[in-house]
């Protein structure tokens, strides 16, 4: 079948005409001569010729079939499903293979691989590793062998690939930044020539291409005979252990890659240089954070001294109780800078480590299913009434029975057992409102710097997940909406920077205002609403007269019935820890985190300490 596989021979950019990018080119060449090397991931910013270099591979491996996997591919086309034509005509269910069959023996290209649904990427990687595609769906079973190389490209600024997916790639390379003037001009010149006169450019690199085609053919033949000296196996495991690589995929990938490299260099033996080069290709994405390593030797080591970020790991519990803070309406007002951002843990998913306090199911990112909005990603046999019918799957389900059913005048006869409904996933329907305590107590010991750093990290996270974010601050006697929910995280950043700190803590009022904003008509009813409360919970301004914290708790209980998810980030520090924020979170039915716990690296570290020491 040729549909979908476009013939691009004439328009293919010549592989040798790609300026620089030696590592990426070597990686691709390795993958194209070795059938054992399967996943290659190429990362780099937009406009750095990632796709060009991948697609250009055809110019030097003419037999290569490259299959482009579109972002909105559906599962039935990817893995296969029932053959509808055959079902209608013969009343028989047989399996019709999908793209994974078409790509067998070729190369599957996933551009923007970080933007695919996780299910799709996962499936592709599973099949790639297992070497066979086993399908059980729509009443048909199918299985076929399936061997292909996967090349993915991505721009890390658009979101990361989770580490378990990352680990499945044998090779991961970053595009070089070409900053040298002459090279840049050459890039331009060649690109423009290619656009105006593709044959001209191909002709001027004709010799190089012909040579490379020969080299690749030769290397393919040589590869099975390439030997790895025993001593080098040892070097491999030493290297991977030193870098803290988990699992054995890294070791295997290194051996395979170094063999391919040796074959490309016309050698029958792998040498140390091959290993070094292979390490750069295979281990970069597997090594653990170097900071993590430093902590490794002794869990009793004092935490790193970051003057900006007060420590709150187990190690700092001996810290003297903090002095009572001035909590008057005092005029002191300060604008703190923003602390260093970090990678945030997946804080909105019910975390396994904690009791799941939320009664509402998380549907962050693409994990949730809701009534109607969102895009249809799959279908299922309906439970109860069908309201959201998935027409195509329904027709597919009905197809095999058409021959037996009395069609009369109808083109197709549907029975209730045929009905399938859509499974929808809303990907960008989350609105996050940050309710930030900007009172004087937050300014103590520059706590606000760390708080702002945390909020910035949460904002970055929100950008990558495409959430809408709003910012509300409460201090002195009021709560101020600094930014109505918007998709512009840049604006949020600006407001955050300017946010002043100082004054008392009207917590109850802040809660009430934030909740009424989120329940207002302006909010989309279909959105997942989340309120992230960043505070130490030390309320000292009551709604009217009375106890300020009791007011806040009362308010919290009232809000807990709203269709809003609550996340409380406790900014309190020092010992003994005051459990007010935690109690508040309980009353709201929310999820509770300590400020420090949101930092994924730090969290990993504190878990490790808890386990080991």
């Amino acid at each position: 079948m040729v549909t979908g596989t476009i013939q691009l021979l004439r328009g293919v950019y010549p592989f040798p005409a790609v300026v620089g990018q030696d590592r990426v080119k070597r990686a691709l060449l390795c993958a194209s001569i070795s059938d054992e090397l399967k996943g290659v991931l190429i990362t780099g910013p937009a406009g750095t010729a990632k796709s060009t270099v991948v697609r250009s591979l055809r110019s030097v491996v003419p037999s290569l079939r490259i299959k482009n996997l579109p972002l909105n591919v559906s599962e039935d086309r990817l893995i296969g499903g029932i053959d509808v034509d055959h079902a209608i005509k013969c009343g028989e269910k047989i399996f019709q293979p999908g793209i994974l069959k078409e790509v067998d023996g070729g190369l599957l290209y996933m551009d923007e691989i970080n933007l695919f649904e996780d299910r799709i990427t996962q499936r592709v990687l599973d099949v790639m590793e297992g070497g066979e595609n086993r399908v059980e769906r729509e009443g048909v079973s199918g299985i076929h062998e399936c061997s292909f190389a996967l090349v993915g490209t991505m721009d890390p600024a658009e979101g990361a690939l989770s580490s378990h997916l990352l680990d499945r790639f044998d090779i991961c390379v970053e595009m070089d930044h070409i900053l040298d003037r002459d090279s840049r001009m050459e890039v331009l010149r060649r690109r423009l020539t290619h656009e105006a006169d593709p044959q001209g450019l191909a002709a001027s690199h004709g010799n190089q291409m012909a040579e490379l085609i020969e080299d690749i053919k030769e290397a393919r033949e040589r590869l099975p005979t390439v030997m790895v000296p025993d001593s080098l196996y040892e070097t491999v495991s030493r290297l991977t252990m030193e870098l803290g690589v988990q699992g054995h995929r890294g070791d295997l990938a290194m051996v395979r890659t170094s063999k391919a490299l040796a074959a490309l260099d016309r050698r029958d033996h792998v040498c140390l240089d091959d290993l070094h080069e292979a390490a750069k290709l295979c281990l970069q994405h597997r090594r653990r954070d170097p900071d993590d390593e430093k902590e490794e030797p002794g869990p009793s080591d004092p935490p790193r001294d970051d003057s900006d970020v007060p420590e709150q790991t187990e190690g700092s519990e001996w810290e003297p109780p903090s002095a009572p803070r001035e909590e008057g309406g005092g005029g002191s007002e300060e604008v703190f800078s923003i602390g260093d951002p970090f990678v945030v843990i997946d804080y909105l998913k019910p975390s396994e480590r904690r009791m799941d306090l939320g009664r509402r199911r998380g549907k962050r990112g693409s994990t949730g299913e809701s009534a109607h909005p969102g895009r249809c990603t799959s279908f299922r046999i309906p439970r109860g009434d069908v309201t959201d019918i998935a027409l195509v799957p329904t027709l597919r389900a009905a197809a095999p029975y058409q021959i037996q059913r009395r069609r009369q005048d109808m083109a197709i006869v549907l029975e209730s057992s045929d009905f399938r409904e859509k499974v929808r996933v809303s990907k960008n329907g989350t609105t996050l409102l940050f309710l930030v305590d900007a009172s004087g107590s937050m300014g103590a010991r520059k706590r606000m710097v760390a708080v702002k750093g945390t909020i910035l990290s949460l904002l970055k996270d929100a950008y990558q997940k495409r959430d809408a974010v709003g910012l509300m601050a409460f201090r002195k006697d009021g709560a101020e909406l600094m930014l109505p929910p918007t998709k512009s995280v840049d604006l949020a950043y600006g407001r955050l920077r300017e946010m002043p700190t100082g004054g008392r803590t009207p917590l109850a009022l802040g809660l009430s205002k934030a909740a009424s904003l989120l329940s207002s008509d302006k909010m989309s009813k279909d959105d997942d609403l989340v309120m992230v409360i960043v505070s130490d919970g030390k309320a000292n301004v009551p709604l009217e007269d009375g106890d300020a914290f009791a007011d806040a708790m009362l308010m919290a209980e009232r809000l807990s019935s709203l269709p809003i998810r609550f996340v409380v980030v406790d900014t309190g520090s020092g010992y003994p820890r005051i459990d007010r924020a935690q109690r508040l979170s309980k009353a709201l039915g929310g999820t509770y985190f300590r400020l420090e716990d949101l930092n994924s690296e730090r969290l990993a570290r504190s878990i490790k300490m808890a386990v080991h020491g």
Binding site: N72, E158, R184, N428, T486, S488, V489
Partner: protein, 345 residues
């Protein structure tokens, strides 16, 4: 279908920057579209729609629903490819280029195309029903408020823009067709950002403001009222202008086709993007292409540094920052100053 009268391009008052960027794209479609940023009611949509009347005709495969370009064998739809494979010859026809609008509420299946349900039910056979990306092939794709577009629709656009092809692998349909379009988007920056990746796909960017000159403001309103009350008479009044303008554009396109890339503009473009520290090469490419188009539009045979400087403020503002949240390394005024110092000699 009766066509609604289109406000003539030549009757738009002021907004020279916006007109310039739009025309550059007509002269050289390879520039890669334009993003128009600005408040509401600043003639953004009017200008884009008015382009329709100035667009050239193009030669396409006769009867092809995707209007495959006749001379571009690399980008043919699945059915034209099949015809070629069978040894059939493709006939041609000439059709006008036009502006296709992508409404914000469009769903994925309508944008990318999907299974033709009625055909499937009636005949039991699968057939591809083309969507907006198919319509947009060879045309201008216009997205009003592009920053409010749903995320997965943006992904579709990016995917199509990356290769100039739309691949559909859904609901049992496997189909590909060319989707080579000039992307024109408008946005009001206060309502949210555009993803950097999509931003980078726009060749040029222009900021528009309401007309500040009182005399011009009056003119804007007067002409609009004139047009709405007596469209035919209004169009007639501008016919001569429009014709002259069309000719000018045809000449510019011809000149553009004949012109050659020279080292002077390459060097200037690289120098500028190095100074800005942009990673990708799209900025450099756009600078060169836009500079050549600008020269062609102004009747020059050969583009020079001054043309690169002229288009720099259109090709760079949206590329000056690499990451969200990173502070701008440079603002446009600083850039202007640097350009002048660097290239004044």
């Amino acid at each position: 279908m009766s066509r609604r009268p289109v406000y003539p391009f030549t009757a738009i008052v002021g907004q020279e920057d916006m007109k310039d960027v739009l025309l550059l794209n007509v002269v050289n479609p390879a520039i890669g579209g334009v993003l128009i940023r600005g408040e509401k009611g600043t003639a953004k949509s009017t200008a884009v729609r008015a382009l329709t009347e100035l667009l050239p005709a193009r030669e396409v495969v006769k009867g092809c629903p995707f209007h495959c370009s006749w001379n571009d064998n690399d980008r043919l739809c699945s059915s034209c490819q099949d015809s070629l494979a069978k040894g059939e010859t493709l006939e041609t026809e000439t059709i006008p280029m036009r502006v296709v609008e992508l409404p914000l509420c469009a769903t994925e299946d309508r944008v990318a195309g999907t299974l033709d349900i009625s055909h499937a039910i009636n005949t039991g056979a699968k057939k591809f029903e083309p969507g907006i990306l198919a319509e947009a092939n060879g045309n201008i794709l216009y997205v009003d408020e592009v920053n409010l577009l749903d995320d997965h629709i943006v992904d579709l656009l990016l995917d199509a823009a990356a290769m100039g092809m739309n691949f559909v692998e859904r609901e049992g349909v496997s189909f590909s067709h060319p989707a080579n379009f000039i992307l024109i988007g408008t946005m009001n920056p206060e309502e949210g950002d555009l993803r950097p990746q999509l931003l980078d796909r726009f060749g040029l960017v222009v900021d528009v403001h309401g007309e500040r000159d009182p005399v011009n403001r009056v003119d804007v309103v007067k002409r609009r009222i004139d047009f709405e009350s007596r469209p035919d008479a209004f169009l007639e009044m501008y016919e001569e202008d429009q014709n002259r303008f069309r000719e000018k554009l045809v000449e510019a396109r011809d000149r553009m086709g004949d012109s050659e890339v020279n080292s002077e503009i390459l060097e200037a473009a690289v120098e500028i993007s190095l100074h800005l520290g942009v990673d990708g090469h799209r900025a450099d490419l756009t600078l060169v292409k836009a500079a050549m188009a600008w020269a062609a539009l102004n009747g020059k045979e050969k583009a020079g540094t001054e043309d690169v400087l002229k288009v720099a403020r259109m090709a760079l503002p949206h590329r000056m920052r690499r990451q969200p949240f990173e502070e701008s390394k440079l603002d446009i005024r600083e850039l202007d100053q640097w350009l002048q110092e660097r290239f004044s000699s």
